[in-house]
């Protein structure tokens, strides 16, 4: 079985996100960033103040590692700013003897369009051992161009992205891509995953959007696609060297009410900073990510973080926010949620109401996932490879945001 690369530091690093720009070349139809614009960009001064605040409060940030994340819009539109911020981060962590100097990453999720540009490449070479860069390529050209279109022309961006994939994989051979599924994408799932494999991408992290976009019959179509993909992966031997996050051994069982009560996502444990120097528990709580609620600001670069505003996030658990149907669900394991979407969709201004638009899609996924593992285990047993598989298997990672 292909070694799936674990989250760096088992996902225990502190995640700090700089919203460097709200501009993007694209206007992806499923993008949850409803308030993108060309005007708001972070100044270096704001970034510096945020960094100084965070590094000044080392005792409050005891995680061993940090991921400095840069997001947009499209972050690489601000590569010069990012370069300056990263240089400042490196120098300051070192100058202050901060424990993070021994364990940090710079992380980017990019549309890949200007990945090849000289300034971007220069930045990459300068920081290569500390970088985590994901390019979003959504599958086949048809599927990718369904949603990922240029802002003014509405023309698909696939050709602009795919030409940079070889360079990206050469520089980051273990990189994975993030694929988003909305209602219109369902018929293209199988061919898209296989297409990404053919491009040399070994890890496909793919998930359905959490928003309420699903139509009658979508779950059935989704299940069929995943079953068919399962056949292709197993019959084609892809399971040895390739991974797809739809299939997980930790999916589809009931959850213990006491021992498995933790919240799903890390909202509140991460920190997001916008161009105005406001702090958020996650980027999803910034105004440009919200369609129907007010932003949830937990502090700013001048006043610091208001810890009282973090208390609800840090005491969130599964049962308190879930309806009884979810608590009793026999296939609850692996059913994900996004705290920001929960908040945006809730009947009141609360993070304690779980959005369940994804329910039928999760159940469909569970069926296909059961099929996948039953088929794969049987194949491995018949071929005498089950023990080897168990020895080498790693945890899959379910990326949701």
């Amino acid at each position: 079985m292909m070694k799936i690369i674990k989250d760096w530091q088992s996902g225990m690093a502190k995640n700090i996100t700089f919203i460097v720009t709200k501009d993007c070349q694209l206007a992806c139809k499923y993008c949850y960033l409803v308030g993108k614009n060309e005007k708001e960009r972070m100044s270096f001064d704001v970034a510096k103040q945020a960094i100084d605040y965070i590094l000044d409060h080392e005792s409050e940030y005891r995680e061993e590692s940090v991921v400095w994340d840069f997001i947009g819009g499209e972050p690489f539109l601000e590569i010069e700013l990012i370069d300056k911020i990263c240089d400042y981060l490196k120098a300051e962590m070192f100058r202050r003897n901060h424990h993070w100097f021994n364990s940090y990453r710079f992380s980017f999720s990019t549309n890949g369009i200007n990945y090849h540009e000289e300034k971007v490449q220069r930045f990459i070479k300068k920081n290569v051992s500390h970088l985590s860069i994901g390019i979003t390529i959504d599958g086949t050209e048809k599927k990718h161009d369904l949603n990922r279109v240029y802002k003014h022309t509405e023309k698909g961006s696939y050709q602009s992205v795919v030409k940079n994939i070889p360079l990206w994989l050469e520089q980051f051979p273990n990189a994975g891509t993030k694929v988003t599924i909305s209602s219109a994408d369902i018929p293209y799932i199988k061919e898209s995953v296989l297409h990404l494999y053919s491009l040399g991408i070994h890890e496909v992290n793919i998930n359905c959007v959490f928003e309420d976009v699903w139509k009658e019959g979508d779950d059935q179509l989704f299940e069929e696609q995943l079953m068919s993909l399962a056949d292709a992966i197993i019959d084609g031997g892809y399971y040895k060297d390739y991974a797809c996050s739809f299939y997980s051994e930790h999916l589809g069982k009931p959850l213990d009410k006491v021992l498995q009560n933790q919240n799903w996502c890390g909202a509140g444990r991460m920190l997001s900073i916008d161009a105005a120097g406001n702090f958020y528990p996650c980027t999803r709580f910034a105004q440009y990510s919200l369609r129907s609620k007010k932003a949830c600001i937990i502090g700013n670069i001048h006043d610091g973080i208001n810890n009282n505003l973090l208390r609800p996030f840090l005491t969130l658990d599964r049962r308190t926010q879930s309806p009884q149907e979810c608590i009793d669900c026999e296939v609850a394991e692996g059913c994900a949620w996004c705290q920001g979407e929960n908040y945006d969709a809730a009947d009141t201004d609360t993070i304690y109401q779980r959005a369940t638009a994804i329910c039928k899609m999760h159940k469909a996924r569970v069926h296909a996932n059961n099929y996948y593992w039953n088929k794969l285990y049987r194949k491995l047993e018949l071929e005498g490879e089950r023990e080897e598989f168990e020895k080498n298997k790693k945890e899959a990672k379910d990326i949701i945001c």
Binding site: K3, K6, D87, K90, A91, M93, F94, R95, F101, N102, S103, Y104, K126, N127, S129, H130, K394
Partner: protein, 90 residues
């Protein structure tokens, strides 16, 4: 060619991983710091020296402890996920 020759403990792995990360960080910092910022530059140079020494010491200590197989012109590599040590030859 790569051959599995041993395994270290997780604690030993953590030690070298920290040094590895620190050395990478120092090398990347060296690309942007110049003698203009004398104090920081001196600190960097000193740290680079110390870290490189500690790095080499770790390998020497572990080799002594575990008596791994070696090969002329070859070198040892560690897999940080599995703590396994490999002998790599051309």
């Amino acid at each position: 060619m790569k051959k599995l020759v041993g395994q270290v403990t997780p604690e030993e792995r953590n030690e070298i991983q920290t040094l590895f990360e620190r050395r990478n960080g120092l090398n990347e910092l060296a690309k942007i710091l110049t003698a203009d910022n004398a104090e920081l530059y001196d600190k960097l140079v000193k740290d680079l020296g110390e870290t490189s020494t500690k790095f080499q010491n770790w390998w020497d200590r572990m080799a002594e402890k575990y008596q791994w197989e070696s090969f002329e012109g070859g070198n040892w590599e560690i897999n940080f996920d599995t703590c396994e040590i490999f002998l790599v030859t051309q």
